[in-house]
């Protein structure tokens, strides 16, 4: 075990993937010489050359489309979209092309591409540099979506994404790049679609992912002080998501809170709650409570953004509501 940062773990995963497989290539805006806007690709162009780690022009639609075409022609491209807000410029290629090519072409080929992109607030980056849009992608058959919360998962899910034959969007969280955590000396891929019990507990289940995991753990700590024993599930993968793990936890605790940084309305949590209100209905002893961002753009000013982001206190209140 060594300690590493989330951003460094991404860097290492890319490094290891490039070293392991000559068909892996990287491209995106300033990912090469500059080492990426968040330094996640630092040193990779030096190590693997400008043919395999390419700086692109500011052309998001072409970046995504190139990934599709390269993936259909024998490579395993890992493309970067600098902020998730900019996937708005790449949706046709992601949704109409990458997601559908396998199905639409009769299942005879796959599209082994990865798109990395950071979401999330907390940096006063304002309404166009902070959004969490993963629910869009999870709604699209043919795409996979993962969202690591720890350095170990940042490594393991990215390796899994690159190994995966289908298009995978890896959603990173900007506020986590500097987060430290333990990682294996020879870390392995983390299977896509499997959740992790981040903290076992008996009284209520909090399902979450990404940076909000840390908020959930904080809330669980606070509640533990009051004798409430919360189980925290880190989904890790959003499409597919681990329904069995959530249902199993709910069947133990009978109380469910779903937490994420994204806007609550029509967010990832809606699907999880809806599904549990169906398949988990008999297990529910209380309303399913969601905690997510309010229905407004991510505001800039520190005070506004702080009030905007779901906090541990919101999770505590939500858990308490399920226990009333």
């Amino acid at each position: 075990m060594v300690e590493t940062r989330y951003g460094k773990a991404i860097n290492q995963a890319l490094h290891d993937a490039l070293a392991a497989d000559p068909s892996v290539i990287l491209f995106g805006e300033d990912v090469g010489e500059a080492g990426g806007p968040f330094k996640a690709t630092r040193g990779l162009q030096e190590a693997f050359g400008a043919e395999r780690v390419r700086d692109t022009p500011i052309s998001e639609a072409a970046i995504a489309g190139m990934a599709v075409g390269a993936a259909l022609s024998g490579l395993k491209p890992v493309a970067e979209i600098m902020f998730m807000d900019f996937v708005t410029l790449a949706m046709d290629q992601l949704v109409n092309q990458a997601a559908k090519a396998r199905f639409m072409f009769g299942g005879r080929n796959s599209v082994p591409m990865v798109l990395r992109t950071p979401h999330g607030g907390g940096l006063s980056a304002g309404p166009q540099h902070s959004q969490c849009l993963e629910a869009w992608l999870a709604h699209i058959p043919g795409l996979k979506v993962v969202c690591p919360a720890t350095p170990a998962d940042a490594y393991g899910l990215l390796r899994a994404a690159i190994d995966d034959p289908d298009p995978v969007v890896v959603v990173e969280n900007k506020a986590l790049y500097a987060l430290k955590g333990e990682i294996d000396d020879s870390p392995a891929a983390v299977p896509i679609g499997r959740a992790r019990i981040a903290r076992p507990g008996r009284d209520a289940t909090v399902v979450t992912y990404g940076a909000a995991l840390h908020t959930a753990l904080q809330a669980a700590d606070a509640l533990a002080g009051d004798g409430v024993d919360v189980e925290v599930i880190d989904l890790r993968s959003l499409q597919p998501w681990d329904e069995a793990a959530v249902l199993a936890s709910l069947s133990r605790t009978h109380r469910l809170v779903v937490l994420h940084e994204a806007v609550e309305a029509f967010g990832i949590g809606a699907e999880i709650a809806a599904r549990m209100a169906d398949v988990g209905f008999d297990e529910l002893d209380a309303p399913i409570v969601r905690v997510g961002a309010p229905f407004m753009p991510v505001p800039f000013a520190g005070a506004l953004e702080k009030a905007y982001l779901p906090a541990a206190a919101d999770v505590v209140a939500a858990v308490r509501r399920t226990l009333e």
Binding site: I25, S59, A62, A70, R102, M104
Partner: protein, 326 residues
Amino acid sequence: MAREPKNDPTDRLLSLYEGMLTIRQAEERLKALFADGEVPGFIHLSIGQEAVPVGISASLGPADTVASNHRGHGHALAKGIDLDGFFAEIMGRDSGLCRGRGGSMHVADVSIGMLGANGIVGAGLPITLGSALAHKTRGTDAVAVAYFGDGALAEGVLHECLNIAALWALPMLFACENNGWSEFSPTDRQMKASLKDLAAAFSIPHVEVDGNDVEAVEAAAAECIAALRRGDGPRVLECRTTRVRGHFEGDRQDYRSPDELAGLAATDPIARCRARLAELGVDANRIDAIAEAIDRRVEQAVANARGAPEPSFAAAAADVYTAAEG
């Protein structure tokens, strides 16, 4: 189709003729099947435009890739897509190339480098760009061809792709079928820039050719593609051609002048090619035999499609993602 290079000029031309006629007869058959309700959805026929993909494909091999657009039957057939799979797909059968899931706007066979027709105007361009990037990165001399119409000139993604292809000297052929129409509107009411001037802005050599003259297309494409294989960077090949049918089947073309419609036959690339074959002294019977052979082949494909089972829903559901191994 993927014709072998023929050395004898007459044989070469006969082969091009056969390529065009295959597309024509296939589409004429589709037209009838559509009218009879045997083809669902929308179909966009390339009747009148066959010389373009046939002329280009004469220089392509199986390692080369093409991406196409909504009017993609000719592109696919010229790239060598299987005729049975083609008809079965468009007729929505399980034996279709895409097992009935894509239809006319998505005929594809990635295994032979046909990366798909496409329902999104312009979307084939960055896919081709990525394919060209793969060829270059892998160090092969394969090339990637994007077929697109003049209407697609208005999409921003063209600009992005011209730029990156030029910047990185990718082996990509921008093959424009300029038929003057974007759906129901003449393109000159939609585009202020010519492709020639756009290409020049990116320092990409632009070649314009009579897209209804298959020999001219073949020659121009051969030069462009040779340049791509040499690593000279992208090329633009603009083919002036003629959309004979409506935008899609069922479009009555009220918006075209009777004069224009009356003049369409004169531009027919197949009739021109046939005249040229006659000039070269090819026997009419030999030419007619080609049509007959194609006819039998097409009828066989239609019969096979008719006899094929409906697509399987369970199989479709299982193909959204690659099945896990083991």
